[in-house]
Amino acid sequence: MEKADRKRLNKLRANIIDSRDKEKTCITICGGTGCHAYGCVEIAQGFEDEIKSQKLSDKIDVRVTGCHGFCERGPIVVIQPEGFFYQRVESKDIKDIISETALGKKVLPRLLYKDPQTGEEIQKEKHVPFYKKQERIIFGRNGFIDPTDIKDYIALDGYKAVSKALFEMQPEGIISEVKKSGLRGRGGGGFLTGKKWEICRSSESSRKYIICNADEGDPGAYMDRSLLEGNPHSIIEGMIIGAYAIGASEGYIYVRLEYPLAVQNITLALEQAHEHGLLGKSILESGFDFNIHVFKGAGAFVSGEETSLMSSIEGRRAFPRQRPPYPADKGLWGKPTNINNVETWANVPLIIDKGADWYSQIGTETSKGTKIFSLVGKINNTGLVEVPMGMTLREIIYDIGGGIKEGKKFKAVQTGGPSGGCIPADMLDQPIDFDTLTRAGSIMGSGGMIVMDEENCMVDVARYFLKFTQEESCGKCVPCRVGTKQMVDILTRITEGKGDKKDIQRLQDLAETVKSGSLCGLGQTAPNPVLTTLRYFMNEYKAHIEQKSCPSLSCKDLIVYHIDPEKCVGCLLCKKNCPVDAISGERKEVHIIDQDLCIKCGACLDVCPEKVSAVSKHTGKEKERILKQHRKKKTEQ
């Protein structure tokens, strides 16, 4: 293939657009990870086979795209150009979709999304409440692009920003545009991107590197994955612009091991960019040389920290090191290096293409642009949402997320992953940006937003995160290695009902020590989940310690399962399902749980029919009463 210069790229774009019939029906199938798990690959194959066997290839195209974000409702199929939106599609629907919708242009009501509030059937993607309030400037193109075909990206004005940057702008001009846009890093710290580039540009060296941090360590967040998988060229384009502005000749994309599809798609995208003269020697004949390599991580949370990540690329253990010197002075192999997060890079082409003035209209005073959140946990519409900075949590959780599952009560939302904190219900009207979240004791982090309801115990959540950071602590510095261990021990003790009154003070003291004494961000932020839960949910800690009770009925050691003899109809269901044969009683007799054998797996509660509802959980005094009764009965026997 002939390598493109600037003119040829424009011509190629025009040709692609010309060769495509805008009116031709295209069945797009979401190929994101969520939909993969629902079996979208078989469905896509089904469409292809059916279209082939009915000889409809000249009438209908099929395209597997990146993630549409509404993972709750997958597999998702959108029929273009009308934009009919079908959800929870199964293989058996394929024939109908082809004959009725693709050919007949009629919608199939059974596959439409119904607004749970009004019951209204919604035909088009953009009218679904989940999408209505979003502003999908970064993520929106995912649904139109086959990530394995560079042509799709080029057709949607892809690589236009690169040619503008290389031919119409000077590196300093690019940097000042990015600075003016107000873009802040999406990897957690929220440092001004343009500023960081400027520092790295001014470092003197014949060799410089740039890195895309795709380690996405926050467990419960997957927006970087979806960008990398769904629109890899937007990241490559951002990196080329950054490299040119900084003066780097080589780049690395460090991808988390657990994301095999992302590695595959980005590798393919790099090859295609090379073939088109968008990477390698003299990009678009501009004289600027730049290459990108993919580095597959090896499973360590700390390797997301910038200095550890570089150590890992160098083939060593992912140990962090003291900063300064910052990577902009001494980074990879001691050379000036600029590192940005996946989403940060994906913002860059937009800023260059549409300008800083356009970009900085979106968002708040101090936080510009949009942010993609991974809205998960106990929420009705789980998925990836992109909203302008400054939207309130209530809008995100209720208007977009559709509220809490099963009508339960909202308790808290966890943002920022293991470095973040839990935000309680009375802060739901806070506009979300870098600074408000920090003031609330949490952080923006990479964008994980885990919603918790009344059944989630906040002490357990704090213990969960501390256990996570303790296991992932690299062990280099003492406060982090030993401090987190002690904190986990205390929290575990509390959830087991063995906590004492002094434990809260101990936790607070340890948190301060670990925060101030740790070497890298992992330790410095590890206490946040504990500190925020202490701040907003002290009553739950006190209940565990003083009354030995878990108000959320979640901590195993503090609850019992009980069958109400008044309600039990003796249907044997729970008895049959008990994995440890702890339930006795014959048909039509009241069933009884042997508390000494019970492992508290909850199977009996799950299977007890709703109209009977004889099984329940109890804690605190009620638990003691049930246990006492049980012991009394046993001694009587």
Binding site: G34, P219, S226, A298, G299, A300, G383
Partner: protein
Amino acid sequence: MICRIKNSILMKRKKSQSEMENILKQFKPEKKELIHILHKVQSEQGFISPSAIFEISKYLRISEGEVYGVLTFYNAFTLEPKGKHTLTICMGTACHVRGAPAVLDEFSRQLDITAGQTTEDKYFTLETVNCVGACALGPIAITDGHYHGHVTTKEVKKIIDEVKEEKGKNRK
């Protein structure tokens, strides 16, 4: 007799040596290749054996201790072979708040091993992972790369049986 045993051991060592040579020659003998090499060995041989450590250290001209240090730092590499099938349970936050611990307990109980262990018949290895990026579908269990979403304790047995049935299919 003894001579024959010795010969077969030598043959085996030779075989693993040539396997290693084939892997190593795909990489430059530079230290920065270490993690790439370890990935390759792990995926082709299923674990990193002592002889592999030795060969790598010789090839990259670094100490065996250094290879060992790096490989034990990362979760991706194991020093022991895994079972025939790997069951991976996600313990990420999204899965955790939706009941992943109970699901893991049930897998653990059914297979009679704890996370990180392999059954005695070397059939199953039970592993945990912190998020696989399918959080919307939590709790997630992965059997040999196949994702199961919204897993409940009730479904655990079915999932294990499905993997076992694969065994039947393969035999036929």
